[in-house]
Symmetry: D2
Subunit: 352 residues, 4 copies
Amino acid sequence: MRALAMLGIGKTGWIEKDVPACGPMDAICRPIALAPCTSDIHTVWEGAIGERKDMILGHEAVGEVVEVGELVKDFKPGDRVIVPAITPDWNSLEAQAGYQMHSGGMLAGWKFSNFKDGVFAERFHVNDADGNLAHLPEGIDPAEACMLSDMVPTGFHGVELANVQFGDKVVVIGIGPVGLMAVAGAALRGASYLYAVGSRPNCVMAAKEYGATDVINYREGDIVDQIMEKTHGEGVDRVVIAGGDVNTFTQAVKMLKPGGVIGNVNYLGKGDFIQIPRVEWGCGMGHKMIAGGLMPGGRLRMEKLASLLVTRRLDTSKLITHRFEGLDAVEKALLLMKDKPRDLIKPVVIIK
Amino acid sequence: MRALAMLGIGKTGWIEKDVPACGPMDAICRPIALAPCTSDIHTVWEGAIGERKDMILGHEAVGEVVEVGELVKDFKPGDRVIVPAITPDWNSLEAQAGYQMHSGGMLAGWKFSNFKDGVFAERFHVNDADGNLAHLPEGIDPAEACMLSDMVPTGFHGVELANVQFGDKVVVIGIGPVGLMAVAGAALRGASYLYAVGSRPNCVMAAKEYGATDVINYREGDIVDQIMEKTHGEGVDRVVIAGGDVNTFTQAVKMLKPGGVIGNVNYLGKGDFIQIPRVEWGCGMGHKMIAGGLMPGGRLRMEKLASLLVTRRLDTSKLITHRFEGLDAVEKALLLMKDKPRDLIKPVVIIK
Amino acid sequence: MRALAMLGIGKTGWIEKDVPACGPMDAICRPIALAPCTSDIHTVWEGAIGERKDMILGHEAVGEVVEVGELVKDFKPGDRVIVPAITPDWNSLEAQAGYQMHSGGMLAGWKFSNFKDGVFAERFHVNDADGNLAHLPEGIDPAEACMLSDMVPTGFHGVELANVQFGDKVVVIGIGPVGLMAVAGAALRGASYLYAVGSRPNCVMAAKEYGATDVINYREGDIVDQIMEKTHGEGVDRVVIAGGDVNTFTQAVKMLKPGGVIGNVNYLGKGDFIQIPRVEWGCGMGHKMIAGGLMPGGRLRMEKLASLLVTRRLDTSKLITHRFEGLDAVEKALLLMKDKPRDLIKPVVIIK
Amino acid sequence: MRALAMLGIGKTGWIEKDVPACGPMDAICRPIALAPCTSDIHTVWEGAIGERKDMILGHEAVGEVVEVGELVKDFKPGDRVIVPAITPDWNSLEAQAGYQMHSGGMLAGWKFSNFKDGVFAERFHVNDADGNLAHLPEGIDPAEACMLSDMVPTGFHGVELANVQFGDKVVVIGIGPVGLMAVAGAALRGASYLYAVGSRPNCVMAAKEYGATDVINYREGDIVDQIMEKTHGEGVDRVVIAGGDVNTFTQAVKMLKPGGVIGNVNYLGKGDFIQIPRVEWGCGMGHKMIAGGLMPGGRLRMEKLASLLVTRRLDTSKLITHRFEGLDAVEKALLLMKDKPRDLIKPVVIIK
């Protein structure tokens, strides 16, 4: 089969591989909608997860089941499915503890285009089909559903980590597609004032549509100062970090009230240390909790999030700025993600 | 001063009383907006809290501060304030445990028109002004803000008790004003399918505007059957009870999934026992949690909820079907609440 | 193979059955230690789960692995293992939601001697070996470890459901083996005053050894009155129900403070309704939470609890009042459980 | 009145001051038992909270009430009371949010020998007597109860922040008196393996008596290596930090499992940043939560912890290595705390 792979750090290309074998609990799917992710860019061009040779890329997909293992109960060939980026081993100790995304080791619930071949291929393999696939609901656009693989669950997990409550003041740092979903998630969870930090015009517009009450542009001054001014020196209840780098946490701690929570869902690719400012962290005693975590994957999560599309609580279409057709277009979409033109939020490729 | 009082069970009337004295932490206010509550009806005509003689009625108000005690720091005469129905003693052991609504004994955080005179008077007394009043934000209609005294915090507390999460299927039983706020709160907290149980046409319309995806009319068949059919036999994740009686819990348990939660905010005025059906409750082992509680009151809560009006996450105007003017009109509003004409959701009286 | 079975309601006997087949994720074990449970008695002589024909009884076991499926990674023939009474399907939607004990339907994580053959046989089958077995730690007596199958996790789950915190006053109703483990668990979780309700002398003695500060004998007066007197009319923070019947909840609600929690782990075999007293439940608004649930099973849970034996935080030996040898003795142990002589807490059978 | 004060950074001495005035909600007490704290040392000799002139030191005390304000309901002259180090304003917004220790600003619930005079005097003032004092239970040694002012609630709060559950593996870093109470608290909350990091012989002995299963001496090698070896490379579920400095967090993150929690109760006096190692923190996605906070103070907390002494769940006497008599001896006790002789854990001064 034909597939778009990482040939080595800094290099991608089309390769031929055998169709993967299907274990007793697994499924083989063909893609219907695919989207490249910033993580793919980090993986290939920054070597974020180390060297990989001829590893198929991609972890965001809606697909059609073409084969299932003999122990699979709820899926059959022909079913249209949403595929989560994170596909845990559900009987692992980590999953039993509620941290399925770390099944088999920290972050190891992330398998596609990390420990095994990804989804940018004519066929791809899904471990534990019953545990990890979700049926695509009738009437939902596969491109919009494809945002459920990673963008929505990651952004929403930031909101869960930050534990947003009715009437909270919330900052979301970063308004790429994940940050935008954090904005939507915070609004959908009862935030009142919602400060979105970013500057690209189409992202700013989307942030407002998704519920931001204020947009903070870091080019117009220190973001901590801007937030403190808007909150009359009190700071905010919650900060969701969906962009920036290891230094972003210093700002987040400074703008947070005692008793507040930081929820990070940004992959930190560089730097030795995240730096927590001692004094503003209350000399260790300020009850400013710092949480960060990979999105929960799996079937239940996908079903619940898909139900938000069906009931129109969430509209992912605003994320999709570029649509392509045919598997070959995945390369163009990937390079677009790499080049990040100013009008890009997220590209999706539809495969008929 | 002139006030509308309960003269005894079954009887109301206008009386003259002295203006209440102001303790060192307290405030005296004059009303700007007042609303009668179903509880006032229960209190007077059903004797729900027992006999009371010449007790001023009412616990929903927006007012203007006319006097404050010498220890009050954040309020001064002339301030316009939202007054919560529940005004706890914040240094009590119960409040320290997080259950301020039970400060001084179960339900004893509810003081207005229960243990002391209520707000339907030319002047009313608020204990612990700094702890219990909230400034009325600029530009907010006092009538709409008056819904924050009881309707919004009670409805939203049902949603908190039921612990609604992203994508949950939620039933709200009862769509009077509290139930409607539970519908709005569940939508604002990430519910997907939201089944509102009720039948009065204007409430049904409001429920849909507040986010109900389906309305279940008990006149069209058993509500458990209807919910089970709509959920393909699986039941729902959460049930908020905002209407009905002691038997409603039997239905709620039956329509709930294992691992689900019932959040009750309906005052149960009659019946010896709430009946939990043994088999459907998993013979005691089904993890169907049953919670019920009086709304949290106090200043922080009011400020947080008020911020939802300011940021337009919540629109309480749809609750207000009848507006009156002048203190005298409180009697008409109260009787309207008693008679419940079909087009009533909530009446408010504005006092200039 | 030879096995002790329920032949029908009210009848037990030894039968011959084929050794069960081992699926790809499963294990076949031979028993090393077995214990009958009160549930076995309910199953056979009260028909609690309905008619069963030639179903092998028993769900408490320590065993030795004799065969594993080809997908099993962490266990091999010869391994000595603790077998939990509850063996979930870990990739089910219920398990993904944190309620693995209800995987496949309410209570359906309980499979042994319910939906499939139990452990009172020369060989027994365990589904998902990696997910559900735990290695028996070196130096731990199999008889004592056998208390980890059901008695410890059930009693401790009552404490978890009741959410015991440092310094809480706790009542444990019922001091059979599960109740005794609730007493031990409450002490191990920071309870201060710990009121154990029971009357059998050896259970009373064990309750005190496990940490009860007071024993309440229902023969000496109403238990609510006794608890209220001991707490100077205030009631307690938590109630764990590990005995009694549907009426016990009425007492539990009455002795509980607002903001308190009831954690039930008692299987309720009879009665149409659990009755919650309306007035003492605060007319629906008292924040007296009612929770009840089947123990969590699975490997992580067993490993964690086993580590409490290894580190000597918990001593289960005091539960074991009768020890037998040889598979045949299981029948005698079962009948002992049925007859409940005054000196019985729990019998265990060792099979060499 | 006579009092031991900080005269300025680096200097202490006895001064004369007026007896403090008693507000309407307050109490004036005379000390019965007093203990100096490491914080007093930081305050005076490290200038941790900045310059203070003639500020009376001390925040750990058991006392006798000599005067109460007119609004005080539950205390009267002659009552013997436990005084918490943290005495919040209970009607503040922070307290209403559950963070009373930050009432009035981050850490501002700490008033004694911070914003106002402390307890090392013939008389001291307690704000909000009903909210902040607790009756000394009959039969409890005032010296032992004096450990409830700060040592016990701080150590136990580390355990609460780290959210210790049944069977968790827990590290406590630092085994001074607060760390020892964290060890006792972790054992009392169900930890299994409990690794105490420290080296002073009498602290090591006390750690074992309080429940440590292993003592890790940093002089015998890197503590991360030692913990990883003891846990077979898996790491632990929880880390409580009760000693060390800003670099200690780097070690804590490295020894923690994904899904684990760090609970810090160590006051960090120096360093610009707490450094969180990026890779071991899962590149921001490892679900290793970092929490740190000042102890909750107030009456309920003191009553709950005192009940653990009464029921003998906790024995604080092992902390007290030096006992003195008479107010004058407070100076000697303070200097002892400064010099930290090898046999010191905690000195207490009894004033008859």
